[in-house]
């Protein structure tokens, strides 16, 4: 039985791709690996940004005003803040600090010393609720924290979170984990009375919580603009995002340079391979020209072959990347309480220059050689 479709269109680019795996596979593998490399680098680098914004994500729901050159806000400053945001709820926050692990090292995370009457409001405003254990008792060395932080610190209920002997997680006396929280953001709370008494040099801040996330945005802008920066600082989600982006700008620049280097390297290699492959196919092209196929047809066919190769390799690269990153997130990052988003869209967008550069380099190489080709000389030499 003769296969009808392939006889109708024996010069189809897809047929060439399918029938020449030995020729196409090295380029497909090189391109797919480049896609994996680029998407992997971008995802891991972006996890820094994502980690910061998730870790300190509670700032979406509250702003904190802290004094400059003092441990406590003056009464005038406190009144000024309350006057600025008359519809917001304000309460004192005194932080103790623990260190959490991230892909780029340890980062400090505040355990907020909050008064009994304010902590559930704070948790509710952040969309967080108690899932196991209980809230810290008034004046007791106890902590309730998000499950993610507990996992990150490898803690379970009853374990010591802050310890007098610890360099990273210090407290004047051991503080135990008594409750875990669950919600969209990370949060850790302790008794305000305990922190006030046992952390004498902790800076006392004023938390400001708006009625909604929307009104919180307005409060952030207001505090950022109106407060005298020589006497107070407003810690808002807006400044968190800005500071994070500023801090990571050099890292992102390096990442972009690396992506360009990978794209150009793969494109150059693929262009050279395309040139070699064209040399091996000179007889084919010369014969086709001699029997009446136009250069335009041959170019169209080459464009088709390169396009198929790029699409197949890019898709393969994406599939491998997604599988690899899901595996990394599930088996390596999550158990350690580290953040990684395997479906971060920008990571995949960054891979687009790779097949594009490869396609352009290959096409330019082959087109130049095709235009220079003298079919008769090739046929006579054969």
């Amino acid at each position: 039985m003769i296969r009808t479709t392939s006889i109708q269109n024996p010069l189809s680019a897809w047929l060439y791709f399918r029938r020449n795996p030995a020729r196409n596979l090295p380029v497909v593998v090189a391109l797919a690996l480049a896609v994996v490399l680029v998407a992997g680098i971008v995802t891991i680098v972006s996890s820094v940004d994502q980690t910061v914004l998730t870790m300190y994500g509670y700032q979406r729901y509250l702003s904190i005003v802290t004094p400059r050159n003092a441990l406590r806000l003056s009464d005038e400053l406190r009144s000024e803040v309350i006057k600025l945001v008359p519809n917001a709820r304000t309460f004192d926050v005194i932080p103790a600090w623990t260190n959490v692990r991230t892909v780029f090292g340890k980062m400090p995370f505040p355990i907020m010393g909050v008064a009994h009457q304010d902590r559930e409001f704070l948790a509710e405003a952040c969309g967080v609720s108690l899932v196991t254990g209980r809230w810290p008792a008034k004046g007791a060395p106890e902590i309730a924290m998000s499950e993610a932080i507990a996992k990150n610190r490898d803690l379970k209920l009853g374990d010591i979170v802050l310890d007098p002997k610890s360099e990273d997680n210090f407290a004047a006396e051991p503080m135990k984990l008594v409750g875990t929280l669950r919600g969209p953001v990370w949060l850790a709370v302790a008794s305000a009375e305990f922190v006030r008494d046992r952390f004498p040099v902790a800076i006392h801040g004023l938390a400001v919580i708006g009625a909604s996330e929307q009104s919180q945005r307005s409060i952030d802008v207001l505090l950022d603009k109106q407060l005298d920066k020589s006497t107070a600082r407003a810690w808002t989600y807006r400044t968190l995002v800005r500071d994070t982006r500023d801090a990571l700008s050099s890292l992102y620049l390096m990442m972009r340079v690396i992506v360009v280097i990978i794209a150009v390297t793969v494109a150059l290699l693929a262009g050279m391979l395309a040139g070699i492959h064209f040399g091996q196919r000179l007889g084919e092209f010369a014969t086709l020209v001699a029997i009446g196929y136009s250069q335009r047809f041959l170019l169209r066919r080459i464009v088709g072959e390169i396009a198929i190769l790029c699409v197949v390799a890019w898709t393969l690269g994406l599939l491998v990347t997604v599988a690899m990153l899901f595996g990394l997130a599930k088996w390596v990052m999550e158990p350690r309480g580290l953040l990684l988003d395997p479906m971060y869209p920008a990571a995949y967008l960054y891979t687009l220059p790779v097949p594009f550069a490869l396609g352009v380099f290959s096409l330019v190489t082959v087109t130049r050689r095709l235009h220079k080709m003298d079919a008769v000389s090739v046929i006579e030499r054969r």
Binding site: I2, Q8, N9, L15, A290, I291, V376, R382
Partner: protein, 229 residues
């Protein structure tokens, strides 16, 4: 496309072909004048370097003459645009080369299909019928590396004639074959005279038995033309 039976299928009018310039000029063809009738079998005979292959490439438009005119079915090739030339080559010529080149990743049937001037729904039937007529139907599924030299050349002839071109050009089609295979290929080309003007270049006079016209070439000139009655 078919040729009008009255006008010559191919005509060379004082055609010269030179390579290089000035002192380094070499003459491949010098004032060749020839006329080939439609549906005739024309043999071009001559030793190496006599210009016989150049004559074939000029006829197909793959080379342009330095002087003179080459006309195919009354149309002067030099006056055609590149696109018209490509269209003419696709519709009017079937070409067979000395080395039977086939696309290595295509089966014999698919290689024959490459010769069709345009995509056809009944391409498979056409290929099947032609292969049966040429006695190569058992080879259709095979890849080029599974074929002998003679078989490959027969597939090349099938590729050249699948579009029923009115002109079939063959450049030393038997040179790479043994005697028996050479004769079989030649008989196949002779049989193509039924529908096409066949111009065969060879250095072996034995291969031109039954030719309607034999042109002997030497040093780029026509030495002798014999026409069978």
């Amino acid at each position: 496309m078919t040729l009008p039976s009255v006008s010559p299928a191919i005509e060379f009018a004082e055609v010269s072909l030179r390579y290089g310039e000035g002192m380094r000029t070499s003459v491949a063809l010098d004032s060749v004048a020839l006329s080939m009738k439609p549906r005739s079998f024309v043999g071009i005979l001559g030793p190496s370097g006599s210009g016989k292959s150049s004559l074939l490439y000029l006829a197909s438009g793959l080379k342009q003459p330095s002087a003179g005119e080459v006309r195919v079915a009354g149309r002067e090739l030099a006056k055609l645009s590149a696109a018209e030339m490509v269209a003419l080559r696709r519709s009017m010529f079937g070409i067979v080369f000395q080395q039977p080149y086939l696309l290595h990743y295509l089966s014999a049937a698919e290689n024959i299909g490459v010769g069709l001037p345009q995509r056809e729904m009944n391409a498979a039937e056409k290929v099947g019928e032609l292969a049966l007529r040429l006695g190569i139907d058992s080879l259709l599924h095979k890849l080029p590396h599974e074929l002998s030299g003679g078989e490959r050349q027969r597939v090349c002839i099938a590729r050249a004639v699948i579009g029923s071109p009115p002109i079939l050009l063959a450049d030393e089609p038997t040179a790479a074959l043994d005697h028996a295979n050479g004769h079989e290929v030649m008989n196949l080309l002779v049989s193509c005279r039924e529908f096409a003007t066949v111009m065969v270049v060879t250095h072996d006079p034995e291969m031109l038995e039954g030719a309607d016209m034999v042109v002997r070439m030497r040093d780029g000139r026509v030495e002798d033309v014999s026409v069978s009655q």
